[in-house]
Amino acid sequence: MLLEVENLNTYYGESHVLQDMSVAVDAGEVVALLGRNGMGKSTTLKSIMGLVKPNSGTIKYKGTSIFGHPPYRVAKAGIGFVPEERRIFPNLPVLDNLRMGIKHGRHSSGGGRNPWDFERVYKHFPILKDRSNQKGSTLSGGEQQMLAIARTLMGNPDLLMIDEPTEGLSPVMTKEVRDVLAEISEVGVSILLVEHNLKVAMSLADRVYLMGKAHLGYTGTIEELDANPEIRARYLEV
């Protein structure tokens, strides 16, 4: 397994928002983490990333523990994170936003793939080339999402953790983001995807994890979930 998370426990003050949460991603896989609002999906990603400090559990990446590591070390190890709020730098031009994603001292990874650089990113996201001198704050919601994804790709992650990438986007933009994720997966990047749009998630993922309140509720392949309307009704919006 590329990423193995077991029995993770995370608190916000007194409230126990992750209770023995487990999730795993294999090399080359797209794994969807689904569930209703407030179940703890974002907290799971933030705990892996080190942005929120988990209390106990194990987090292994490529076989070594990254539990308790600061975010920059987790990122340098090869995990890219695109947060729910996108968090592009509004005061910097698009070009500098992309530059911020470059990880110095970490080059191509994942068995001789082409590294992501400006040329390759601009090929996948032509809109960012057109807007390269504009401030991040001037981009539309969909463009900001593209920028957030592209910025993380500049760091050449082996695993991309992406939180609700189609939230608030138009159907056209949603499809574009979906297609970009499919392309990224095709070139060999593993993806851990949190997504509320079930159609998008099912069209990309190999396996799913469904979260109940603070814990793992169900896990299976896409085909199994597809054949199980009762489970879908229990864990997802209907």
């Binding site: 990333m49 975010p71 920059y72 005061n91």
Partner: protein, 290 residues
């Protein structure tokens, strides 16, 4: 040149010089706040400490230039130690912990300088060629004030070049808007914090040295100038270097022309200015958050 014009010009130069010193102090304060979310209550104390170091260096070496070179460096190094070994340790206690720590540190520095140097004012002398007036294009200017303005301008240019032309500067500006995200992109943010804290403290140190020949060195120095710097940061907008520059100069000029035109009101003019601006724009002139 008639006497009235000469007086206006002199007051303008005085105001500008004080404004630039305020900028040296406030830019560090605003950068540290913008990046780390820390309102560094000890910032002006570092400024004062550097002025005392300057005084002491001059006693030992008799040389103002050596004092100008070394006092801020020692102060900046002290700032780095404080960030690395104290502030970072209380980080998990949140902003209240950092506020209490830096306020406590300010008190320790205040009591410390009283114990070491006593409570009376200490003079700092500048070389004779920096004293007196210089005649430029038919007007007389106070040399030392011009010197302060010159040094501050050089630092302003260097700071701008670093902030806007280097990768470190880009990282700092990004971290001012979202330090956690910068961290999550693989950049060692704790080291960037330490660097910014050190540079900010060093600039406060330079401010302390250059103002000491004018105000002398005494334990109330931190409060007197620190309050003005704090107002500059509030009015300019937390985290905004441009805001700090503009408001520093306005404050400096308000200060000197205020004394001339409304001497009774002069001490509170800056406060009035702050209240007016913050009523209209609670986040300050160039700030993004309140």
């Amino acid at each position: 040149m008639d006497a009235t014009t000469a007086m206006y010009v002199a007051q303008g130069i005085h105001g500008l010089a004080y404004g630039m010193v305020l900028f040296l102090l406030a830019s560090g304060l605003t950068l540290i706040f913008g990046m780390m979310g820390i309102l560094n209550m000890a910032h002006a104390s570092f400024f004062m400490l550097s002025a005392y170091f300057c005084y002491q260096f001059q006693i030992w070496t008799g040389n103002f230039w050596l004092a100008l070179l070394f006092a801020p460096v020692i102060t900046g190094f002290f700032g780095i130690l404080v960030e690395r070994f104290l502030l970072r340790k209380v980080q998990r206690l949140g902003h209240i912990g950092q506020l209490i720590l830096t306020a406590g540190l300010g008190l320790i520095i205040l009591e410390g300088v009283k114990v070491i140097w006593g409570t009376e004012s200490k003079p700092v002398l500048v070389p004779t060629y920096l004293q007196g007036l210089v005649n430029l294009a038919g007007m007389e200017y106070p040399v030392y004030r011009l010197f302060i303005i010159g040094i501050s301008l050089i630092l302003l240019i260097i700071l701008s070049l670093i902030l806007y032309k280097t990768r470190l500067g880009m990282v700092v500006r990004a971290a001012v808007s979202d330090a956690d995200m910068v961290n999550a992109l693989g950049i060692n943010v704790p080291v960037v914090f330490m660097t910014v804290f050190g540079v900010g403290t060093w600039m406060a140190g330079v401010a302390g040295v250059v103002i000491s020949p004018i105000l002398t060195v005494f334990p109330g120095l931190a409060d007197q100038v620190g309050m003005d710097a704090f107002i500059v940061v509030c009015v300019g907008g937390f985290g905004s270097i441009g805001g700090a520059l503009l408001v520093s100069i306005i404050c400096g000029l308000l200060n000197s022309y205020g004394v001339q035109f409304f001497s009774q009101l002069a001490p509170i003019l800056i406060f009035i200015f702050m209240v007016v601006v913050l009523t209209i724009r609670p986040m300050g002139l160039f700030g993004e958050r309140e």
